[in-house]
């Protein structure tokens, strides 16, 4: 950690190698986005201050800069100075104006984020959301582009009505948000194109 020149606020250390670590983090995210529900790992050494997960920091560092308005939830707001220092990303108060949103606390309503327009559906928010577990928790099956048949995924820490919210998000396609779930050094992408089927019962596995 280094001291921020302007204040006593602690600044999270960035990538040890900004160029190659950005590339490696991006490839993990791209791989995740191309294979929804599959868990990817960011390998580089990052030790961000609580509550930030290394995978969340890797997403922000590799994707955000002065061109991407960033929204932070209350739990993440202590990191504002770090992100301003590393990315120069303008912080916005309104989630629907954000290119990226970082949620270290409970995931707010997806409908509150930028949804894009019919002509420019990419003008929507990419929501980076920290969860308490990936590969454990509520099981679901994902289907859609990037998935050969169905992809199993279990997540703990999403809102109870997440499936319903996701279905509503999917109904907006091609508009809608994309979500990156993070936990520790791991991440999972849920592009807007993916459909989530809640697992009916858990005794079906062989």
């Amino acid at each position: 950690m280094t001291a921020h020149p302007d204040s006593a606020v602690e600044i999270a250390a960035g990538f040890p190698d900004p160029v190659l670590d950005s590339q490696a983090a991006f490839r993990a995210i791209l791989d995740a986005m191309a294979h929804p529900g599959r868990i990817a790992t960011v390998g580089m050494q990052l030790s961000p201050p609580a509550p930030l997960a290394p995978a969340s920091l890797a997403c922000v560092l590799s994707l955000c800069d002065h061109e991407t308005p960033l929204w932070l939830d209350d739990a993440a707001s202590s990191l504002a100075a770090s992100f301003r220092f590393h990315c120069g990303a303008p912080l916005v108060g309104a989630p629907d104006r954000a290119a990226f949103a970082l949620c270290c606390g409970p995931l707010p309503a997806l409908a509150g984020f930028g949804q894009g327009t019919a002509e420019y559906p990419e003008h929507s928010t990419t929501v980076i959301c920290q969860v308490s577990a990936l590969g454990d928790g509520v099981p679901m099956t994902l289907r859609g582009p990037g998935i050969d048949g169905g992809q199993q995924l279990s997540v703990a820490g999403l809102p109870d009505d997440f499936s319903a919210q996701w279905a509503a998000n999917g109904a907006l396609f091609p508009q809608g948000v994309d979500v990156i779930l993070t936990q520790g050094q791991r991440l999972v992408a849920l592009p807007r194109s993916v459909k989530i089927e809640p697992e009916v019962g858990t005794c079906m596995s062989q």
Partner: protein
């Protein structure tokens, strides 16, 4: 987005790496002074963001702030920018033009990345993690984990039917694709079959109509549910689009005039392959012809395995 009014970039550590290497005098930097994979980090980030959106919205053309590259527009600047944004030191790169690794432009692009990204290169399809291509998809089936980067001259499938970008954007938004079907049907009416030979329009995941870049329609079926990730870059037209793995890519057709691919009455003169796209070679001034594989790696591998053609 708008141009920032302050010198914010001064405070961006990721940028200093390239900035520091700039000599005080305004002299072109040595190659050694360029950033990894040539592009600066800010440009890579903007392209990476566009790529993620492209993957999330299969077949949709995401506008991006294409940069001037040190090779001309039309030589693959879109593909090169996509590759430069994706490539890392662990990658193995294959570059083909017209299916061949040894065409001059493929050689030139491969050299560019060997020099600027220090990346391993290969001509073997199965060894490559990233394949940049112009006009072909390799014959060797692609594998999960591979990334294919297509060089795209004109990304808009509706462009020949509607010149205005504002209009075509609306047509995509409203999924108003009637004109495309009318155009293909006019072909059927005039010629008895669809006459589109390459750049044959496809529908991706049942939503967006997409140009597969000018690959021959022979290669269209390779796009459908491919385990590889397909990325498309159009530099001059400033568009990026993608087909994620295992995504349905359907070539447009009619029930009574189904999509069909080219076939040749003969096999490759060198390796005897009957299943590959053949280049026609004029071998003498009496108009003698031979047909050989356009995919040079595929042809060489077959010959190494003992296959022989009639030549």
């Amino acid at each position: 987005m708008n141009a920032p009014t302050s010198a914010k970039s001064l405070a961006m550590p990721a940028e200093t790496k390239s900035a520091e290497t700039k000599p005080a005098e305004a002299k072109p930097r040595q190659e050694a002074g360029y950033n990894y994979a040539y592009l600066d980090e800010q440009t890579k980030r903007s392209i990476r963001r566009a790529l993620l959106k492209a993957v999330a919205i299969p077949g949709y053309q995401v506008p991006f702030g294409s940069r001037e590259m040190p090779m001309p527009y039309g030589w693959g600047t879109g593909g090169v920018q996509v590759t430069a944004s994706v490539l890392g030191p662990d990658d193995t790169l294959k570059v083909i033009d017209q299916g061949a690794d040894d065409t001059t432009n493929a050689v030139s692009i491969r050299r560019f990345f060997a020099k600027t990204a220090g990346v391993k290169t290969t001509t073997r399809t199965e060894e490559a993690s990233v394949i940049q291509t112009r006009h072909r998809i390799p014959e060797t089936p692609l594998k999960a984990g591979q990334i294919v980067v297509f060089q795209v001259p004109i990304p808009e499938p509706l462009r020949w039917l509607e010149a205005s970008e504002a209009e075509t954007r609306k047509m995509h938004a409203l999924e108003e694709y009637g004109v495309m079907h009318v155009k293909l049907y006019e072909d059927v009416a005039r010629f008895g079959r669809i006459s589109v030979a390459y750049d044959y329009p496809v529908k991706v995941d049942g939503r967006y109509i997409m140009r597969p870049s000018p690959i021959p329609k022979f290669d269209n079926p390779k796009l459908d549910r491919s385990p590889a990730l397909m990325l498309f870059g159009a530099g001059r037209e400033q568009r990026i689009y993608a087909v994620p793995p295992y995504t349905e890519v359907r070539s447009l057709d009619f029930e009574d005039h189904p999509f069909e691919v080219e076939s040749w009455p003969r096999c490759c003169a060198l390796c005897g392959a009957k299943d590959s796209f053949l280049d026609e070679i004029i071998v003498d001034d009496q108009g003698g012809r031979q047909f050989v594989c356009s995919d040079t790696d595929y042809c060489e591998a077959r010959r190494a395995a003992g296959h022989r053609g009639p030549a």
